[in-house]
Amino acid sequence: MTIAVYLAIYAGAAIFLGGSFRRAWQYARTPLHLRWELYPVPHEGPYRAAYGGSYLEAQEWWRKPRMDHRGYEWLVMAEEILLLKSLREFNRRLWLPSFLFHGGLYLAIAALCVEAVTGLLGSADGAPAAALAGIGTAGCVMIIAGACWLLARRIADPAMKNSTRPGDFFNLAAFITAFGLLACGYLMRGAGTASLGELARGIIHFDRQVQIGRTFGAGVILASALAAYIPFTHMAHFIAKYFAWHSVRWDDRRNERGGRMQTEMAANLGRKPTWAAEHVGADGERTWAEVASTNPAQEARK
């Protein structure tokens, strides 16, 4: 069981990190898109962001310095990530189950990370370790409660029926099972089996002497599999959110002469579309710049 648990953790972590990196890399490599921002944009600063204003509210805005309140942007992001502000504001019924679920994940991940560090330092026992295990268990309970609630919503709420796929039930069921096994296995572990701190230390040092209970071990293996699976599903929205907010909603960067953006624009305008409608006039040879320079209305008249 010990070796299986270790291998599951190593593989789960590696696939999770690799898959997440690959997904992020794919979005980062998409071409510069047209501006598509939505206000408020927090780096305009607390005053303007409070009512949704932008630098376009000034005459000759191009002569004025760009507002760059990154600190405020981080504050808004933190509120969104930790407290799920959008859900609280626009979909209060879903906020509590979702908050329980995500809050539980944050607690469980935080407990795991601290345990890993203390394990690495070789001081993974005692009262702090017990407190961390308590936090991790509370996290598991929150995840299970949140996931059950979300599952009930998916089953019972007609509003969610059309956009619920079979995979969504599986995902929530997998969370409930994995974290249920983890919490039960840990709380009911037998004498001589490893504490969370000992497990963390064992993973880092590949210590095969560490004893792991079956239920807890099964939970770890299932949670590792779940971690490996997440980057390949819509549950990777923690990655999407970064791009959707920073690269789309809040991307109000101006096109300035001589800037790097102009190089990216030139690459885009040099792309060769193949859209088939006659008025577009794309033939796979003409570039976007050439297509934009034609006038189908006048060419048709000729």
Binding site: E37, Y39, L56, W61, N162, S163, A244, V248, A277, A297
Partner: protein, 535 residues
């Protein structure tokens, strides 16, 4: 009605509409339109329309897609659709929106936060067909199946749907049941954008299949590129019309006004939505008067497409969009003006000032701005004297989505109305949380078949509720009221919707632009610039 339509109903092979809305289904309106009986009856589609066009969605027809004549034709159309779908996810063809589209399609959790924000969904009484995720969920399933070439595992994870001509035909209509106001995207906790999905679908249909509503393609962007304006006005005609407006405004205000044309090196190139010149001539007249009195060095251009700020490509076609934007900046470059200022037209402002920004390399990147900061600075500068008492009637302000939520121009217009309108009151919600007028994304100019009934009953309903509530304490005909809508398309929607419900005759509800309020308050102008009569 909610929950009655399933995704797979879209592939149903019969031509019967999936839904048929009745007044009793809709979100209730306040007085004087409270109760289904006080609402207008719907016009049903004619038999002729049903026999010629695809009308299997909701007993409404916006696009006039001809029914295919054979099974082979249907197969060809479906193949074209799938080929276009592929191109939406290809950077050569769709670099312009690839990233936001991928982010939206690959991450929606179906939480329905967007639905709570959508005015169309709410106004329809929560009809499943108009749920923002309904359309997106179909596109998502098609994407994973036909673009990502997903197999059984993908179908289990993302769901599946049968693609056939009825589905494509219904999707064409459904792409035109969204105002692209993006209020849903603002609410999404992940940043998914269902408005963008509707936009991209419209692009697919236009750029690959050559399908778009006549009003925005043939009579819109194509006419603009052929004649110079979607109104059909050529340069000679527009100059004549503006000369007539100048004369009329000079007479009405007692101040000589002359619009300058093609002045090289002017500070400002002003571009109006040319619809103003035809439908609301007092608007360009008021602009001319204000700029002249403020001593601004300005001009208009008689170049093709540069005397009409509209850019309908923004709603349905990237190629048409880029062509019009390019013509407008080339005209500015030719004149050597210092900046372009776009007048009272929301989509034109966003199109030229924001969306076109990353299409204009080198010296084509002529500085461009919305007219509101300039107008605000003129009004508050003290150069012109105002008497707010001349505007002493109830005023409320509509926020055009394109200027406010999508550009962040929120306060300048408020500073003006606060300074000049003693009885100004806000709608709730307002600013970036506003609701669309219901005419956004081309609907205001789309009036074929019974589509106007849909846009007044459904897409305009939430805004109508807001307007009636804003004037709730003075609804009677004894108090004339002014709904200020600083956008041509929004004005078009309000004109038609107020007439549809007879709110001018019964409640003395007038709509108009912002510059008209400014001129109405000028002490040097003859009183009564705003004429309280219906046009």
């Amino acid at each position: 009605m909610s929950g009655t339509v399933k995704l797979w109903d879209m592939s149903r092979k019969d031509r019967e509409p999936l839904i048929r809305l009745e007044n009793a289904d809709l979100m209730p309106l306040p007085a004087p339109l409270d109760g289904a009986v006080n609402d207008r009856a719907w016009t049903r589609l004619s038999e002729q329309c049903k026999s010629r066009y695809e009308t299997g969605l909701d007993d409404t027809c916006a696009v006039n897609v001809p029914q295919p004549k054979s099974a082979e034709e249907e197969t060809q159309l479906v193949a074209k659709f799938l080929s276009g779908l592929d191109k939406l996810f290809d950077k050569e063809n769709n670099w312009a929106f690839l990233q936001p589209l991928l982010l939206t399609l690959e991450h929606c959790t179906g939480c329905q936060t967007c639905a709570e924000s959508c005015h169309i969904f709410e106004a329809s009484g929560g009809n499943e067909l108009y749920r923002p995720t309904f359309r997106s969920e179909i596109v998502r399933r098609l994407y994973f199946k036909h673009v990502k070439r997903g197999g059984l595992l993908s179908a289990w994870q993302h769901g599946t749907i049968e693609v056939n001509w009825p589905l494509v035909a219904r999707l064409i209509e459904l792409a035109y049941r969204c105002n692209l106001c993006r209020r849903c995207a603002q609410a999404c906790p992940i940043g998914c954008d269902n408005g963008l999905v509707a936009h991209e679908l419209r692009k697919l249909f236009s750029q690959e299949m050559g399908i778009a509503p006549r009003e925005i393609h043939e009579n819109g962007s194509m006419l603009q590129l052929r004649a110079g304006s979607s109104t059909g006005m050529t340069a000679e005609i527009v100059k004549d019309n503006v000369a007539f407006i100048d004369e009329d405004i000079s007479e009405r205000t007692g101040i000589e006004v002359r619009t300058p044309w093609d002045v090289k090196g002017a500070d400002v190139l002003l571009i109006h939505n040319a619809g103003e010149i035809m439908a609301w001539p007092e608007n360009p007249g008021a602009f001319a008067l204000i700029l002249s009195m403020a001593g601004v060095s300005w001009t208009m251009s008689s170049e093709l497409a540069a005397y009409d700020a509209i850019n309908y490509g923004l709603w349905y076609d990237d190629a048409q969009f880029a062509r019009v934007a390019l013509k407008q900046v080339e005209a500015a470059k030719k004149l050597g003006v210092k900046r372009i200022v776009v007048g009272e037209c929301g989509h034109a402002n966003k199109a030229l000032c924001v969306i076109a920004d990353r299409l204009l390399p080198g010296d084509l990147n002529v500085p461009r701005e919305n007219y509101l900061p300039l107008l605000r600075d003129i009004v508050l500068s003290g150069k012109i004297k105002f008497d707010p008492a001349r505007n002493d009637f109830p005023v409320t302000l509509h926020d055009p989505c394109n200027m406010v939520r999508l550009m962040g121009v929120v306060e300048p217009q408020r500073e003006i109305v606060r300074a000049l309108c003693p009885q100004f009151s806000e709608m709730e919600p307002h600013g970036v949380n506003n609701y669309c007028c219901g005419g956004g994304s081309g609907f205001a100019i789309m009036s074929g078949n019974n589509f106007p009934d849909w846009r007044f009953h459904v897409s305009g309903r939430k805004k109508l509720e807001q307007v009636l509530n804003a004037f709730g304490d003075c609804l009677g005909p004894e108090t004339p009221k002014y709904l200020c809508a600083p956008c041509s398309n929004c004005k078009g929607q309000f004109r038609d919707m107020i007439a549809y419900y007879d709110l001018w005759e019964k409640n003395r509800l007038l709509y108009g632009g912002l510059v008209e309020l400014v001129v109405n308050a000028m002490t040097d102008v003859k009183p009564g610039f705003i004429e309280w009569e219906w046009r």
